[in-house]
């Protein structure tokens, strides 16, 4: 189906079902229970899951296929965001032109950065991309303040009058898709549960599914095979009559466009942008997402993005007061002791937890979460085979 083989089709369908049912899946705990703080089914976080999923999918097309590790991908995310917000400020509050502009501008910027950076490979390539991203950050932060709003960034303000949107005087524009506002949500209460269906999330989710589908097509295409050949043996590729340079540049631009798409979607959701979006930590984060989930796998980067964003938003919300509540049944001394031990790993210390998880994954599961899943799958299959031998293994008659 969709021009894919059956395995990829089922992967795409599973991802589609999970994404569309995310408001249920991410809200497993009733609203009033103690565990409700582990619910991730609120619009802001769900939007971030899919947007960073797109960012990581695009990054994986470059890093996973060609092996070129870009350390400046957040620059394309930021450039896409700035382009998108200017579209909304000037032209229309409809998100489609904004997102489209984000993709185009990020793609052009990636063409320039890629053209220069791809003259080198390995660590020098990474450093070049990092330098470009930090330059972009510095430009956005200070030099280009009239365009980027400097430190405070850009928001949609009451004085913004987009050409094609008829706003009342003094009304602050809100992002929409043909009248559907991104912030619109439908609440569904079932028993103790509350499920939120947010328009912005569903629009971003559909975009992510399209982006995911395109990435599967690229992975299975002759182009994708050439990119894997670049990673495997670039020398051989050149002596086989193929020019590796345009292939890597095309991969770089495509992944830059994915980043621009993610940046445009971010603006569509929260109608603001700041230079910190291009800071090197943001570039590092997408590298972590790809590695954590599984470099070069189809679904890995999305899982990695989800995991990091979940930890960032949920772990960081837990504070000492909540811990004391959890351990209240214990004697005071023990309670305080437990809280003191866990304290560094929660709240602002969530990075510490992320670091430990990352180290464990890299050491024990070099293939990321996807490899973990595969190992568990294999374990179950083997066990099943041991329990009851399959019919064709038993001799007939």
């Amino acid at each position: 189906m969709f021009g894919l083989n059956s395995k990829d089709t089922s992967l795409l369908l599973v991802v589609a079902v999970l994404t569309l049912l995310a408001p249920f899946i991410l809200n497993p705990f009733p609203e009033n229970s103690d565990l409700a703080q582990f619910n991730a089914g609120y619009p802001d976080l769900m939007q971030r899951f899919v947007i960073f999923g797109i960012f990581a999918i695009g990054f994986n097309i470059l890093f996973g296929l060609t092996g070129y590790l870009s350390f400046g991908h957040a620059a394309f995310l930021g450039v896409g965001s700035y382009a998108a917000i200017w579209m909304m400020k000037l032209l229309t509050l409809n998100v489609i032109p904004a997102i489209f502009m984000g993709i185009v501008v990020a793609g052009l910027f990636a063409l320039v950065v890629g053209f220069v950076s791809l003259r080198r490979s390995g660590i020098y390539f990474s450093i070049l991309t990092l330098a470009f991203a930090q330059m972009s950050y510095a430009l956005a932060y200070s030099v280009l303040t009239p365009i980027t709003g400097g430190e405070t960034g850009l928001q949609i303000k009451p004085i913004d009058r987009p050409l094609l949107s008829n706003l009342e005087p003094g009304e602050i524009g809100r992002a929409n898709l043909f009248g559907i506002e991104m912030g619109n949500s439908y609440l569904l209460n079932v028993g103790g549960w509350q499920f939120t269906f947010n328009a912005g999330y569903y629009i971003a989710a559909v975009v992510m599914l399209i982006a995911f589908y395109i990435s599967i097509r690229i992975f299975r295409s002759p182009f994708g095979m050439m990119l894997r050949a670049v990673k495997s043996n670039q020398n051989r590729l050149n002596y086989t009559g193929l020019n590796s340079k345009p292939y890597t540049l095309a991969a770089f631009v495509i992944s830059g466009m994915y980043a621009g798409l993610a940046g445009g979607l971010m603006v569509a959701m929260d109608t603001q942008v700041g230079p910190e979006r291009m800071f090197w930590t943001a570039s590092g984060e997408v590298v972590l997402m790809a590695i954590l989930g599984g470099v070069g796998t189809l679904i890995g980067p999305v899982l990695g993005a989800g995991m990091i964003k979940y930890m960032e938003n949920i772990l960081s919300k837990i504070n000492d007061a909540i811990l004391h509540q959890w351990f209240a049944f214990m004697p005071d001394g023990l309670e305080n002791f437990k809280v003191a031990i866990i304290h560094p790993f929660i709240g602002k210390g969530w990075h510490l937890t992320l670091g430990i998880v990352f180290m464990l994954v890299v050491i024990f599961l070099p293939g990321g979460l996807v490899e973990g899943g595969q190992r568990i799958g294999r374990l179950f299959r083997r066990k099943k085979r041991k329990d009851k031998p399959s019919p064709d293994a038993t001799p007939a008659e």
């Binding site: 097509r217 050439m226 894997r228 009559g241």
Partner: protein, 252 residues
């Protein structure tokens, strides 16, 4: 006029004259060997032919066109394929994919943005790749991860990758270097088989006299960057100059 004409090629590395006034003519449909002691400039000459190095002076004409100043992929597209000293293959890809890459390169040129087509839809190319694997007796290994192949199979695979391009000239850089006697003989048989099945010009750079005398129709002897003599294997064997420069040394 041969398919490959090297005229007056010089190459210096600093103070070292690696190649001095090399003239070479490889006739079409022959197996031409270039031999010489270590440091004679065999590899430098080969690198000048494939675009890795550019000679200081002189000309290299292939099939009536100059190859100088062209990139390796352009020279390959002209019809020169190269086998490396240690097999260079795409280790992360399957055997079949290894063959498909040159197939796409042959059909679509050095670059094509075929990002939305699917490999498994390219039935005719896959058939072509399977046929060449059949030719080198590797059809049963087509789904193997090519890094897991034995060294001999890697060599076969690399040859198949070159052959599927239907090159006019196949360059072989010490194809039996570091091989055991049995592997060497297998490689000789493979090359003989390849030669018997199709019209192809081969240029072999080789150290091993056994390989050279079992395959070559013409031999050029290089010594200290200059061709000493070019002749048939029988005459080379009897040539006292060659004995002195090369064979005498190796028959301790």
């Amino acid at each position: 006029m041969g398919i490959l004409e090297v005229k007056g090629v010089n190459k210096r590395f600093g103070g070292l004259q690696a190649l001095g006034d090399v003239n070479l003519s490889v006739a079409e449909n022959t197996v031409h060997a270039i031999i010489g002691p270590n440091g004679a400039g065999k590899s430098t000459l080969l690198n000048c032919l494939v675009g890795k190095l550019i000679p200081d002076t002189g000309s290299v004409m292939f099939d009536g066109q100059s190859v100088l100043g062209r990139k390796p992929h352009e020279i390959n597209q002209m019809g020169i394929s190269r086998v490396f000293q240690t097999p260079e293959i795409f280790g992360d890809l399957t055997v079949l994919e290894n063959i498909l890459i040159p197939c796409f390169g042959k059909r679509d040129g050095a670059f094509r943005m075929h990002a939305f087509e699917q490999v498994f839809h390219e039935k005719s190319l896959i058939e072509k790749a399977e046929a060449i694997l059949e030719d080198v007796n590797m059809a049963d290994k087509k789904d193997f991860h090519s890094a897991s192949l034995s060294r001999g199979d890697k060599r076969r695979l690399e040859m198949a990758m070159c052959l599927v391009q239907e090159p006019k000239l196949l360059l072989l850089d010490e194809p039996t270097a570091g091989m055991a006697r049995a592997d060497t003989n297998n490689t000789i048989d493979l090359l003989k088989e390849i030669k018997s099945k199709r019209d192809i010009t081969m240029c072999i750079i080789e150290h091993d006299m056994h390989v050279v005398f079992s395959l070559a129709e013409r031999i050029t002897v290089l010594a200290q960057g200059t061709p000493l003599v070019e002749d048939t294997p029988e005459n080379i064997k009897g040539n006292p100059k060659v004995q002195e420069a090369y064979l005498g040394e190796s028959q301790h």
